[in-house]
Amino acid sequence: MKKILLTFLLLSLVTLTSVYAQSRKITGTVIGADDGKPLPGVSVKITGTNLGVQTNVQGAYSVTAPAGATSLTFSYLGYLPQTVKITGTTMNINLAPDSKSLNEVVVTGYGVEKKREITGAISSIKGSDFADQPVQTLDRAIQGRAAGVQVTSTGGGQPGGGISVQIRGVATVNGTTQPLYIIDGVQMNSGTIGGQTSLDALSAINPDDIESIEILKDAASSAIYGALAANGVVIVTTKHGKSGKTQVNASVQFGRAQPYNNYKTITGAQYVQLQNEAFINVATRTGASVATATTNAIASYSAAFPGGVVPAVIPTYDWVKAISQTGKVSQYDLSLSGGDAKTQFFISGSYNNTGGTILNSLFQRGTLRGSITNAVTDKLSVVASFSLTGSNVLGSTSTQGFFTNAPFTGAELTPPVNAIFNPDGTYNTALVGRNSLNEVQNLALEQRTVGTFQTVDNLALTYKFIPELSFKAFGGLDFSDVHDFNYRPATLLVAATTNGAGFEDYQRNINYNVSGTFNFNKKLGEHSLSAIAGFEYRSVTQQILAASATGFPSPLFTLLSNASTPSAPSSLFTGYKTAGFLGNISYKYKDKYFFTLNGRYDGSSRFGANNKYGLFYGGSAGWEMTREDFMKNTSFVTQLKPRVSYGVVGELPLANFGALALYNGVGNLVAGAGQYQFTPSSGGVLPGGLQGGLGLTQVAVPNLSWERSAQADIGIDFGFFNNRITGSFDVYRKTNTKLLLAQQVPGDTGFTSINQNTGSAKSEGYDVLINTVNVDKGGFKWITSFNLGYNRTKLLSLYNGVQQIQTFTYVVGQPLNLIYGPKWAGVNPADGRGMYYDAKGNITYNPKTADQFILGHVNPTLTGGFSNTVSYKGISLDFMFQYQYGNSSILQAQLNSYENLSNADNKTVDVLTRWTAPGQIAYLPRAYNGTEPLSASQGTFSSRGVDVASYIRLKSATLNYTIPSKVTQHVGISGLTVFVQGLNLLTFTNYRGDDPENTGTNLNFYPNERTLTAGIKAKF
């Protein structure tokens, strides 16, 4: 209050001063240097004061300057502010556009809008923000850079592996949570492709070819994508040519990737001690002979030692280290861009070779991309883009879980007393405490590859009937051929019995969309109107051919035809279609009131017969307050635009044929291959041989439709102090109804669930983005971009009074994705057994179904990123932190094995805190080989296996040095920059698993890597 009073006094003083001083009247007109037209609403201020006026509709102004005034400052949104010395009483000003901010347009679906006129909630990321970073895919590149957008890897550290992107939390149970990706108008297939290892379908695009990424977060903006838009839309615009001298950009970088934060496992001696305890504790408990137990304990591991004799000094073999490697990273990029007034082109090529941190894992990709823009006539223009991508990925199995052939499981669980190699250098396959799969050998000899050939192309023809009206015909293709290959030679024990085993499949994905849209633009005085109307059709199909074989005459023969016994041939088809009418109307008045309406009447083959089409719509409005008279005295405010939006969009049912009654092959030995062997005389009358088994696997659901997602958003865009501080703040609530639920039906009907639209959930929160120029003085500049998304979710209803589904993963009134299980009560100090709480809060050793509680949920409350650029002359440092807070994650690996003292697996050093003697207050129960009678097994899931997975991670840091052009010009290079950079450099977390960046459980998967690279980029 005091401050306000003081300010008021000061202001009054200034006013008084000006009244009593001698003053001049200055008049003039302000016109835009870009089009020569008068600019209305320009703020004209006496420099250094708050005195000022605004130009009128004709761009004219009249201001009274006090005696001491020396200059006037003209500022207008989208133009560079100008300070002009007072030289006379008439001052006509040409205001130059701030090309950066004026040209900043945002792609909003089928058109573009100026950034300052946007009325929806849209995050924009520039390609330059992540250019030259050693990330292989665009979805990984946006990690930490957009408020309310949570990006998590699903393929772990496998280079090029799968990514999960969640925009503004999740309000669905069974529906997809991933956004729609659009690259230059092509609606992409996303997710992972290939079965042998994790490979992101979006790896078809080199992130360096990207000009910008827009993320449509609110339903009003995304409504033009109708039934595909419920999780937001990510619109990617690739680079196109610019007219002028041909520019050549080249960059090359090399580096290495290393695993970090591997589990610390126990030594051989500690392992032996643990096993002895485990056997002896059994004998003590069951009243058996301790001597026999000791003998059996020794027998359980003695085979690992030479001659079966336990040596005095027990060796330790580090299996985790043995399967790790330093991945070599190299990346080469080259692009050319140029053209004349009529034709512009852009061509780029790249090669990326990223070694994984596990033996025999690698991502190799070559890309070629080109685009050409041509004005055929004054009325007809054409834009064509094409890309070719070939990739080859080597990797271990990406499926999370305790599969013995997944190295990050097998190696970590192999007891440390086992030598990796025999004395003669061959692989040791007589492993104690594990089945006889030598993980190092498996990685070295098994061949697992995914090869892809992908192309993303589009062609757009635009015909301008009159300046106001044009028609655009568009066709886009996203095509991929994927080849999975797996070969296990007979030299591997698992394939020895079959003399080698091979598997191959070919997948062809054809995904295309075609559209025709009319585009109308008209400006009438202070009114401008633009409209889009069109139709779009999309078809997505996938075909897979696969076969296996065994019996290879030599390990050098690897193709199926060389094998003696072919098996499991399969041929699969699946696909879906969508089609819809779309429309958009944008209206603005006086460049300060903005209104937008979007709509789409959309149909899909996934909908039931009674619900083939649905209407999706949204509207938004914005108000640029700085254009108002009452704001003319607040020169420090350069933008203030409140916005409001509401929209209804949809989400397709997950299964392509989920609405149809279907008979499928059944019989649960080998998935999808139900057969039964009759013989010619079985029962005397049955036909001979194998008969395919059939069963009715689902009933028809004629009413199946989209999940309906309604979202309201209130936000504000702001800029202060000549845009030294800019940003936005949005509050949203997303309510999904008609949830696509697998509604449970009695299992005794022959079905377990029916796909239905029922139930509702909501996700709400706020997104903050603040960009600041902290220092900009004497060549030193420090800018930061901070974003934060707060989110909470709630399940509102299910069906038929059902209060929970999926064993309490979803409970009405609770957040989505709950973790549910027994509560750990610690270790009984008297006997070392694990204790749990029962439903009444009493201690139990064997919790029952009823003794379970909600232990947490996996949705982070806060997510975000914080990036900085500090530059001085030619040196700049970029670094970005990424964080999330408030989510729990299951320590599955610890529960099942690393801290499970009932089996022969290797353990982490945490087991050194186990109970060993009465009276101890221990963290872990006593070792016991097997399950203690009347106790739950040690691997029983409980709250002991749930940890908060909040973290802050220094995700990337880059140090650039640009050699002064004075130096480089002599050799014909207009810009030369050298750089070093790192990814995943530091992590701050209390999470006990290996990596808090996971999707809710640390079920063993490929560890994330730390990458360091150095490179050079040149501009000619």
Binding site: L493, S682, T697, V699, P746, F751, S902
Partner: protein
């Protein structure tokens, strides 16, 4: 108006994709072959590892006193079941009803076909008969796993007077409306009556087709329907009917099986099919057990030492290349139950270390990969089983003489002493021990102990002691999701 209608219709068509890997009902149930597919599916379902393919036969012994699950070797498989820890027993409730629904579809629909050629009439009748018999088998297994027997409901303890058994679904469910109706469990009496009616119906249908002997016995037939019905009567303690059905099953005119002669017990389990099988499920290695399916889940992988295998009677196991999760070892009590050292059946056991430990265990070689890598056929009902059922039913009625003769007939064929077989009331207990010696690792032991209501003794090595005959854990829990959804089913007590 017409234009609009055409536009709407073409809009519908624009967004239509026809599946190619699945069939719609209109495409499937058009002829006998469609129904044959449903029957093949129901057999394939019964072959699943969580049902006849493994759990019913191996876990049925692990829950009793024939198996000691060695924790260090088993890879977690059955370690809890062997300790009789609640909720870790059989789990094929939901899966069974899926296949029962297909069998109900056959029973309700196959006789409505109008396009059956004269040549297909017998096939049609056979599918119809088998559907009844297979449905009865599914319901019998549900009844004995999830409920008590008609005369064996505990009088005390948590299960006192608990008479709920299977949910009897007898008509096909093919629409949403059908799936929404809840139905509660029937009583034990109702369930057994339905099983009996289904087998009797199947038998009369088989008889109507004519006398035939399935060879190999990979499908249900009149003989196996009699034999399985005999087991139902035995469980229900309806001894006269049991005897009659056993005798009908072994009628040489229809019975595909014989009692193999002395010295051939092991060989029979190596033969495809086992010559003693009245009904046997066949597994085709290259199709059904390909890939990791067998090495992860087959009876072989559960019961053979990893990296070692049987080489000969009296010899230790020798290294081989087969990785297994073998932890289901033969209990000392089972080995000790043999009274005659020369008994052929004892030769099924061998001792061996494994690739991962130098400690040795006793292993059972019944599942030896006789039909391919990791692949063995599953005898569902063997001649010897029927003989012993007949003997037991006779002895229970005091007919010790004829009962003794049957046991002697079996033991003679096994090179076991005939003199040891009593002819008085002690024969009842002797027959139970004989069943154990004959049918170990075939999933009978637990159910025999259960129906005899004498408690479940556990091997000393498990440290568990004897499970009281009224213990709630003897009947398996229904899936939690089912009882949460419909508490009125109801769940078995104490779960």
């Amino acid at each position: 108006m017409t234009t609009l209608a055409i536009t709407l219709a073409s809009c519908e068509k624009l967004v239509t994709v026809t599946p190619q890997n699945s069939l719609t009902p209109a495409q499937t149930l058009v002829d006998v072959n469609g129904y044959l597919g449903l029957l093949a599916g129901a057999y394939a379902g019964a072959e699943g590892y969580n049902y006849w393919g493994r759990d019913l036969i191996i876990e049925g012994d692990a829950l009793a006193d024939n198996i000691v699950t060695n924790n260090g070797q088993a890879g977690g498989r059955y370690t809890n079941a062997n300790l009789f820890i609640a909720a870790n027993t059989f789990n094929f409730w939901t899966n069974s009803y899926f296949y029962i629904n297909q069998l109900n579809t056959i029973i309700a629909g196959i006789n409505t076909l109008t396009n059956v050629t004269p040549a297909q009439k017998t096939l049609q009748a056979s599918i119809y008969a088998q559907a009844y018999a297979l449905r009865a088998l599914y319901y019998f297994d549900l009844a004995r796993v999830y409920g008590w027997e008609p005369n064996n409901v505990p009088a005390s303890g948590p299960d006192a007077g608990f008479t709920f058994s299977a949910v009897l679904r007898l008509t096909p469910i093919t629409t949403i409306a059908g799936t929404t109706t809840k139905q509660n469990r029937s009583t034990i009496t109702q369930t057994y009556a339905q099983i009996e009616a289904d087998f009797l119906k199947a038998i009369s249908l088989f008889q109507a087709i004519g006398t035939s002997k399935p060879n190999p016995p990979y499908a249900l037939s009149e003989s196996s329907a009699h034999g399985l019905l005999a087991k139902v009567y035995l469980y229900a303690q309806d001894y006269p009917n049991c005897v009659a059905q056993c005798q009908a099953a072994l009628n040489p005119a229809i019975c595909p099986a014989v009692l193999t002669p002395a010295g051939t017990y092991s060989k029979a389990f190596k033969s495809i099919p086992n010559p003693e099988s009245l009904i046997e499920f066949d597994y085709v290695q290259s199709v059904q057990v390909a890939g990791v399916t067998g090495s992860n889940g087959s009876p072989y992988t559960y019961t053979q030492p990893t990296g070692y295998g049987f080489v000969g009677v009296g010899l230790p196991g020798a290294p081989n290349n087969f990785s297994t999760f073998g932890g289901q070892t033969v209990s000392a009590e089972l080995v000790a139950s043999f009274d005659t050292p020369t008994d052929d059946r004892k030769a099924m056991f061998y001792t061996s270390r494994t690739a991962t430990t130098s400690a040795t265990f006793t292993w059972c070689n019944k599942y030896s990969g006789a039909n391919g890598l990791y692949t063995d056929n599953i005898p569902v009902l063997r001649y010897a089983d029927v003989l012993l059922m007949e003997a037991e039913a006779m002895a229970a009625q005091g007919q010790f003489g004829p009962a003794q003769a049957l046991v002697v007939q079996l033991r003679t064929a096994r090179n076991a002493s005939a003199a040891a077989v009593p002819a008085d009331a002690t024969l009842n207990a002797f027959i139970q021990n004989e069943r154990r010696r004959e049918l170990f690792f075939e999933g009978n032991r637990f159910f025999d102990l259960k129906r005899m209501a004498a408690g479940i003794p556990k091997p000393a090595a498990t440290g568990v002691g004897t499970i009281a005959p009224t213990d709630y854990r003897i009947i398996a829990p229904l899936p939690t999701s089912e009882v949460l959804f419909n508490p009125a089913l109801p769940q078995n007590p104490n779960y």
